[in-house]
């Protein structure tokens, strides 16, 4: 077997050194009822060629985004990732290293994390950022838990524009921890409506911009209302490229900014692994979840980086930790950081503008179709349209003709009464011909 270096002779020699007669003697502590001498009922080993055949068979049964017009977003976006990114993250020293517990021989990973934190803090307009969480949805849930620790209050108000999957992740964690959640009904332009729901028990207000319907909102007034009630404002973003065009959460008064970072440096991968961005005001940092990388010096006074403030974490604090998180999303954070370095501020702004323009062009083309109404008043690269038909059916019809039209909102939140709403996303990868073809097919499908 190609991944196992020991030869039968090695095994015999080693058993001799150990003083065991057979490998079974090393498993002597396993109760007799559970001892197995035969392999389980699964296929036996396979060579690379056979494995590739099986994986190719599965791969071919999927329609990849590159195969044609593709307008799917709702929390994951197909952007072009420079070849350099994948080359670097496949370097052995990044790909096959562990959590940097020995800083003297992990300065590569640690410096990258420090740079990543600095980039995320700049993008979100916040004081500090952590070294990443699993994804945007779990980062949002962790932010709600953190707000509870900071305010010692136990109610979270979620706007009707928060991605329903994010609401689900928040509810899972919140209910486990005894935090109550008030999620307002889904609405296209909903962020301001949360102000009325804030009361003295409110620990945090969770708003998303651009929201799940694509609506971009200046949340400054919500921040003021939250702060007046002693609550924190958590601003969620599922499309990190929007930071290049829209006001940052920090500039609008956010206490905690969380985001899905997949858009920068990471592929779609059918939903994961992604990278959760988490940033907050400096005064709250000791309540933050996840790993933090900090600058220090070595015994010779040279600058170096270490994991720090770990007294918040589970391996030190156990049941008193700020979170149970151990693993983060290091390699995806690296991909994010490399892509961000390649873009630079100028490239990010340009990329964001391109995304916005494609969305404007697409919205214009769709709005011209009789019976199709663009619902989102202010958007970045994604918007909602109302169709004269069930959106899920339309998506299936167009898929059969080679266009993946977007996400029917009903898939995210069945029973919301928005079965005719379709979420349409564009990126810099969208071609003008994609837009034309989409509009033509949609016009036919909704007649």
């Amino acid at each position: 077997m190609r991944y196992l270096p020991l030869t039968p002779e090695d095994r015999a020699d080693m058993l001799g050194v150990i003083g065991a007669g057979s490998i079974d003697e090393l498993f002597v502590d396993v109760p007799a009822v559970a001892r197995r001498s035969e392999p389980v009922d699964l296929p036996h080993h396979a060579g690379e060629l056979e494995v590739e055949r099986e994986m190719l068979r599965l791969s071919r049964r999927n329609r990849s985004a590159a195969e044609g017009p593709f307008f799917v977003g709702a929390g994951a976006y197909r952007h072009h990732v420079p070849a350099t990114v994948d080359h670097i993250i496949q370097r052995s020293e990044f790909l096959t290293s562990y959590t940097p517990y020995q800083p003297e021989i992990a300065q590569g990973t640690l410096q990258v994390l420090f740079e990543f934190q600095s980039q995320v803090a700049a993008l979100t307009g916040m004081d500090v950022a952590n070294a990443s969480l699993y994804d945007g949805s779990t980062a949002t849930a962790e932010a709600v838990m953190m707000a509870q620790r900071v305010t010692r209050k136990t109610k979270a108000v979620l706007s009707g524009g928060v991605h329903p999957h994010y609401v689900g992740a928040v509810e899972t964690l919140a209910h486990a921890a005894g935090v109550t959640t008030l999620r307002l009904p889904a609405a296209i332009d909903a962020e301001d409506a949360v102000i009325a729901a804030i009361d003295a028990d409110t620990a945090c207000v969770v708003v998303q911009t651009p929201n799940v319907f694509g609506t971009a909102t200046d949340v400054t007034k919500i921040a003021e209302a939250a702060h007046a009630a002693g609550a924190l404002l958590i601003v969620v973003t599922t499309e990190a490229v929007s930071y290049g065009l829209l006001k940052s959460p920090g500039a609008m008064g956010a206490d905690i900014a969380v985001a899905e970072g997949q858009s920068i440096g990471n592929g779609l991968n059918f939903g994961g692994p992604y990278v959760g961005l988490f940033a907050c005001k400096e005064k709250f940092v000791r309540q933050a979840p996840g790993r933090l990388c900090g600058e220090t010096v070595d015994a010779d006074g040279k600058r170096g980086f270490v994991l720090t403030l770990s007294t918040r974490e589970q391996h030190i604090r156990r049941d008193k930790a700020t979170s149970n998180i151990c693993t983060n999303s290091g390699l995806c954070a690296l991909a994010f950081s490399i892509h961000m370095s390649l873009l630079g501020e100028q490239g990010l702004r340009q990329l964001a503008s391109l995304n916005h323009q494609k969305a404007l062009a697409t919205a214009k083309a769709l709005a011209a179709i009789p019976g199709v109404e663009v619902l989102t008043p202010r958007f970045f690269n994604e918007f909602a349209v109302r169709l004269p038909k069930d959106a899920a059916e339309v998506v299936e019809t167009l898929a059969a003709h080679g266009v993946i039209a977007g996400v029917p909102y009903s898939r995210l939140e069945p029973g919301s009464g928005l079965d005719d709403v379709l979420l349409v996303a564009t990126t810099e990868t969208t071609l003008d011909t994609d837009i034309t073809f989409f509009a033509k097919l949609l016009a036919g499908a909704v007649q």
Binding site: V17, P31, R61, I88, S97, A129, F270, I325
Partner: protein, 524 residues
């Protein structure tokens, strides 16, 4: 043209200064550059991408646009490649040498898995595109689920948890939901041994449970009498790692399960160490109700400097109805991801995260499983255990094994009794290993053993590599015992950096780059 017959010296001069104290003039070190931060490379107007021109934003976003500088540096492509490759050279990695971190399971990461994860049909697909267009992806999830269920002997699996600790959360939430459905919501205690991973008590506390510790016997196992005394109508679950963090198989695990079930509680098994028994022992045969499996440990998906992971949770018949969404169903029309629970399943707790879990990790883990097969995976467990016992056998005369009697499983645990009186601590010894070219073992964990040193070689080390490692440790151990304290106290000497000041980092947290403040304007 004449040859240069004078030439240059081809033999080194006899050293006339000692290595100690030698530093370069510029901060470089041999081939290692002293690499600045991206923020210090001066690229405030640079970019490494060529994008089409974009026109300025339209009026529709008036008042919402970001008009202030963001503060992000850019690098051209050659600068970026160099920056990151230079940084990479300051990392240890499993591709360079043994990574003996006990409980972390750093094994070889096959490159075939990386290649498969990059097939466009598996990587360039969106979690929310119509299910009719991703039948192969859903089938792959179903195949992976089948392998995990068969290997563990369990009837159900929740794939979506994103890492081990996330899996623990999933398992405990399923347990909580099951108790609540049965009218047993008053059960608010979780029992866990002192040797547990920190994530166990952290997860239990997160779920609103009070954690009570179970005592350990002198031979490193759960104390059955203490467990029995602490079980009762208030206990929701026990969390036991098996093989445990001392590297030992819980001999009485079947009895542990029986006692737990008799008390009306569930048995959560931390499956971080499943790699020691995969293909040889099925947790389902031991009475386990829920167990997470770290795909990045047992099934070799890369750790990437700390993640991503993936932590599917297998569930018993009793807990299966309480699995989170989504899950896969399969009929004559094909594969379907059920994203919204209906009917009895709606009493479960919902979803762990957005979308369907760590697909990129599923692909890698499935490729690894297919490669090894049932026979190879059994050999994986056997070789992992053999390698650990070999290390234990070869070091036991110089170092003190914490549990000398009987075999260990996939990792060998030593305490620091053998260092007593040498002036060398576990930390010093670990740091000195760096100078010998090896990554240290896990230190000071588990907490039940003084000055713990936990060595896990995994099955992907050759005997020659193990011997090289053991020989280096033996030389170090002899040196410590001979009183060469200096070698240890200031170690590492030869790493890219000397020992780092972690106290300073925590006392004055500096968590991002800040521009150097401009010099104050001179008074006019």
């Amino acid at each position: 043209m004449s040859m240069n017959t004078v030439g240059r010296p081809t033999r080194p001069e006899a050293p006339n200064d000692s290595e100690a104290g030698f530093t370069s003039l510029s901060g470089g070190r041999g081939l290692l550059q002293d690499e600045p931060l991206i923020f210090e490379l001066g690229g405030w107007t640079k970019t490494g991408v060529d994008l089409p021109d974009a026109v300025a934003a339209d009026g529709a976003l008036a008042g919402l646009t970001r008009d202030e500088p963001i503060g992000l540096p850019g690098l051209s492509e050659p600068e970026a490649v160099r920056h990151y490759v230079r940084l990479s050279q300051k990392n240890h990695a499993i591709d360079l040498a043994l990574y003996p971190l006990g409980s972390c399971t750093m094994k070889h990461n096959p490159r075939l898995n990386e290649k498969m994860a990059r097939l466009p049909g598996l990587s360039d697909i969106h979690p929310l595109q119509p299910q009719s267009t991703v039948q192969g992806a859903i089938e792959l999830m179903d195949r992976l689920a089948h392998w995990l269920k068969t290997l563990t002997g369990m009837p159900a699996v929740a794939l979506s948890p994103k890492a081990g600790a996330h899996g623990e959360l999933c398992g405990l939430l399923a347990i909580r939901a099951a108790h609540e459905a049965a009218g047993n919501g008053h059960r608010k205690t979780v029992l866990a041994p002192t040797s547990a991973h920190g994530t166990n008590p952290a997860t239990a506390a997160f779920c609103g449970y009070t954690v009570v510790e179970i005592a350990q016997t002198d031979d490193g196992r759960v104390d059955l009498a203490d467990l029995e005394a602490k079980l009762g109508d208030h206990v929701a679950a026990i969390m036991v790692t098996n093989p445990n963090t001392c590297g030992l198989f819980e001999r009485d695990v079947v009895e542990i399960a029986r006692l737990t079930h008799a008390a009306g509680a569930y048995f959560y098994c931390d499956g971080a160490n499943f790699n020691a028994i995969v293909g040889r022992v099925r947790p389902g045969d031991l009475g386990v109700d829920a167990m997470h499996i770290n795909l990045h440990k047992t099934f070799s998906t890369p750790h990437g400097g700390g993640g991503p992971g993936a932590g599917p949770v297998v569930l018993s018949e009793a807990l299966a109805p309480f699995a989170p969404t989504p899950w896969v169903v399969h009929d004559e029309n094909g594969y379907k991801l059920v994203e919204e629970a209906e009917g009895v399943a709606a009493q479960a707790f919902g979803r762990m995260s957005a979308f369907h879990g760590q697909m990129g990790m599923y692909v890698r883990a499935y490729a690894y499983m297919l490669s090894h097969g049932a026979d190879g995976l059994k050999q994986v467990a056997e070789d992992a255990v053999l390698n650990a016992n070999y290390i234990k056998a070869r070091l036991s005369d110089l170092m003190s094994p914490a549990f000398p009697e009987g075999p260990c499983m996939h990792e060998a645990l030593f305490d620091d009794a053998w260092l007593e009186g040498t002036g060398v601590t576990t930390l010093d010894f670990a740091k000195a290993m760096i100078d010998e070219g090896f990554h240290p073992m896990t230190m000071y964990f588990p907490l039940v053993v003084h000055g713990a040193m936990l060595i896990e070689p995994t099955e992907t080390e050759s005997k020659a590599e193990l011997d090289r490692f053991v020989d280096a440790l033996r030389l170090l151990a002899e040196s410590a015992k001979a009183g060469a304290v200096e070698r240890f106290k200031n170690a590492p000497h030869l790493a890219p950096l000397k020992r780092l000041d972690e106290t300073l980092a925590a006392r004055k947290p500096k968590l991002k780059w800040k521009p150097v403040a401009p010099a104050p304007l001179a008074a006019e």
